[in-house]
Amino acid sequence: MKFTRIEAPYWSAETNVASLMLQVLAALVPAALAHVWFFGPGFIFNLLVASIFAIAGEAVMMWVRGRPPEAALSDYSAIVTAALLAFALPSLTPWWVTATGALFGVVVAKHLYGGLGFNIFNPAMAGYVVILVTFPTHLNLWVAPRMGDIDYQHLSVIQTLAFTLTGNLPDALTFDAVSRATPLDAMKSGLNNMATAIEVRANPVMGDFGGRGWEWIGNFIAIGGFWLLIRKIIRWQIPVGVGVGLLVPATIIFLIDPGTSPGPGFHLFAGASILCAFFIATDPVSAATSTRGRFIYGLGIGFLIWCIRRWGSYADGVAFAVLIMNMAVPAIDKFTRPRIVGHRRGEDGNG
């Protein structure tokens, strides 16, 4: 009898890139629902706009690069990029802002570097930073979270959609009426105005730890993150690294001088810290690969977030921290190579 020859190992791999990406998306669903609950349906429109442009950008770039477009679309990585971008955007964001971010992320940060697997920078964060510096006013317009006791002008679904499409609020409304400072903004401007951190925390947007509403979204992101950890889609080194890098300096300074700096709980639950720890920094393509390297990479991101929040001119520093550490990845990988079994450390090829 005749047989066909195949290559060892003759065994099936159970994972594939598409299922990894789908699981990441699934893990974001609780947080997405919470986001819609607290900040209105704008998140859905942002997600749709970002997805459409990310997918279109990916398809066009694949075609330009002479590859089958459907191959790139079937791995869902463009949608993950779009989802992360949507989480970073205020719920009231005009479509062209979102589109710019999605296209820059996918076309420039991803495909001009060679596509999935070759991009040095996290596409979602690269896109976010570009729109942050291009459309700064739009990205500071966060509506107040839906909490009973906060004076809140409610935008209907139609009004939100109209804003997304035109960038104009309904006639009767002004931005001042619908938007509120984010907790990080409130903290930054309060501290700049010589208020103490404790005074700033009396602001009604502040919750138990971070911002009201925000900290609930943070909880739901963490649930998704722990699920990914259990599924071994991500490993603990980066999330823990981010946490340690952010919370250790925050705690030390808070203990020394509680007046000028918010506590570790605020740093963890305000802004995008938790999203960064579980979903942004853990993007494998742009992160360090070795076990030790990943911890150091996370540590660097956490520490930079804290630095930017404390000394930078931006309220949050997640995107910048991630992009800066993306640049450090080759060096981290070089110096954290594991010792090959049977070699002594420091010997040829062992870091």
Binding site: A8, V17, G117, P284, R339
Partner: protein, 525 residues
């Protein structure tokens, strides 16, 4: 059996007064590895089936690491079972014996299960069906033999490592004798899925294995033997314990290792059992260990105590491509086709024939290949539903997490495809044991192990080429030097002639000139 007074897993400490029949657990730790579905139940549950002698036996002369053996028989000779057919050639090798009696009908290339070559020289025996053995010779009691004599005797048995690596056992033992070897480790781990030949051998022939271990201990003059068995083989463990308590040999200790692939790799096992790392490019003997498969120990017993050379082995016939997976004892040289019949024949799923296990075996195109000393498993499988389209690496690092040698397979694959030999060396390509773990976990379905095999081959070729170029350069330089030397010698001779002519005086010079003129005239005429 030795009393165990060591912490057991999960902090279970045994009362010291109780003689613990439980074996000791591993001390070392293995990086990475995978827990794979075992697929062994079907074949391991049944007793070993003896495959009758087939009409024809194909015995490759190269069934071991080293040089092919040199045939000492000719076509037309009649041979008896156990008769020497080919003897080792050079320092490294093993003899080949007739697996049954009959007539040599050919010595010709035949399909074999090697990775690259399709055919290799085989001695073909037309069996007479009588299975007539060699006349028995009274064998000396091995305990009265010196280790050196015993090693030479083991060499004559044609015994090689039966775990699949087929390194000649006698030479391995001899090498270990030159080092300070402390431990003999018998490998009964059998971590690769589907394969259960060592498991059933331990269940049915524990006595022979342990007796073989005693022979090996004597040959090595070593005082400690660890028998390493994976913890998922309770029947084999129970049987070994039983026999161990019968023979009451303090030197032999049973060790359980965790059920993780590839804990049965030679270096990995040393690491697990002794917590010592075999240095890169080195041998277990560098850390005082020598590893032998349990099947090899049984073969040593058969040869030394029963005078039967290595002419048969236990092989697992399994996979969804055969009707009834089973372990068989087949004569070396039996065509796989004949063996398959004892597993109920092929099913309609049979698409690929693999000699060896699903992780490291060799895929062959025909079942004409014979069962050889290396064949621990014959795996017949349907087209696996695996290896979707290959995508770019997303640097997830899962490959590095499972690598038992702690390599960075994704980096290696990058350099392998870029053909960057220097980087490949730096990142430890030569340390890769080709276990296939990285392949299995890769979400992008990159054929990492195949890449590494190809890269290793290319580096070997390159080294060969370099060696050839170096030899050519040396020849060229030697030739140049010879030419220079010849010219110098000629010039020196000329100068000497001139000198002697000068000293002979004008008359002699005139005489010489005249002779030369005469010669020139003759030439032109």
């Amino acid at each position: 059996m030795r009393t165990v007074r060591r912490a057991l897993p999960r902090g279970l400490h045994h009362d010291e007064t109780i003689v613990v029949s439980a074996p000791t657990y591993d001390l070392g730790k293995l990086h990475g590895g995978l827990r794979l579905p075992s697929h062994k139940q079907g074949s391991a549950a049944k007793a070993i089936v003896d495959v009758p002698v087939p009409p024809q036996l194909m015995l490759p002369v190269e069934q071991h690491v080293g040089h092919p053996a040199q045939p000492v028989v000719a076509v037309g000779d009649t041979v008896l079972k156990g008769q020497l057919l080919a003897e080792p050639d050079g320092e490294l090798g093993a003899p080949v014996h007739a697996s049954s009696s009959g007539k040599i009908v050919a010595i010709e290339p035949w399909p074999v299960s090697r990775r690259l070559g399709d055919k290799a020289p085989c001695i073909v025996i037309e069996c007479d069906g009588r299975d007539q053995p060699m006349p028995a010779i009274a064998s000396e009691d091995y305990t009265s033999q010196t280790p050196a004599d015993l090693l030479l005797r083991i060499l004559d048995g044609g015994i090689v490592g039966l775990g699949g690596a087929v390194f000649p056992t006698a030479q391995k033992l001899m090498q270990a004798r030159t080092c300070e070897t402390e431990f003999l480790i018998l490998n009964g781990v059998e971590c690769e899925p589907y394969i259960s030949c060592d498991d059933v051998l331990m269940r049915e022939h524990a006595t022979e294995i342990l007796s073989g271990a005693q022979v090996l201990l004597h040959a090595l003059q070593v005082d400690t033997c660890f028998i390493a068995v994976e913890s998922d083989k309770p029947e084999a463990i129970a049987r070994l314990e039983e026999v161990l308590s019968d023979i009451n040999d303090e030197r032999i200790v049973l060790k359980l290792v965790p059920t993780i692939y590839p804990s049965g790799g030679e270096d990995q096992l040393v690491q697990l059992v002794t917590n010592r790392e075999v240095p890169s490019g080195g041998l277990p003997t560098d850390v005082g260990c020598i590893v032998q498969n349990v099947g090899t120990a049984a073969a040593v017993h058969d040869w030394i105590l029963r005078n039967e050379p290595l002419i048969s082995r236990v092989t697992t016939i399994t996979g969804d491509g055969v009707a009834s997976p089973v372990n068989v004892r087949a004569r070396i040289g039996t065509p796989v086709e004949k063996v398959i019949q004892h597993a109920g024949g092929y099913t309609e799923l049979a698409r690929h024939l693999i000699i060896g296990g699903p992780m490291t075996g060799k895929s062959v195109t025909t079942d004409d290949v014979p069962v050889v000393k290396a064949s621990n498993c014959v795996l017949v499988v349907s087209t696996p539903p695996f290896k979707g389209k290959e995508l770019a690496c997303i640097r997830c690092g899962d490959c590095a997490a499972v690598c038992p040698v702690q390599l960075l397979p994704q980096q290696l694959s990058w350099y392998a495809r870029a053909d960057d030999e220097e980087k490949l060396r730096e990142f430890g390509l030569t340390d890769c044991i080709e276990c296939g773990c990285c392949d299995l976990v890769c979400p992008s379905h990159i054929p990492l192990t195949a890449d590494f095999r190809i890269a290793k081959g290319r580096i070997r070729e390159l080294a060969d080429e370099k060696a050839r170029a170096e030899r050519a350069r040396q020849r060229f330089e030697a030739r140049n030097q010879r030419l220079v030397q010849e010219r110098e010698e000629r010039e020196a001779e000329l100068a000497r002639q001139k000198q002697s002519a000068k000293s002979a005086g004008p008359a002699a010079i005139a005489e010489i000139l005249k002779r030369k003129q005469q010669a020139r005239k003759d030439d032109s005429a």
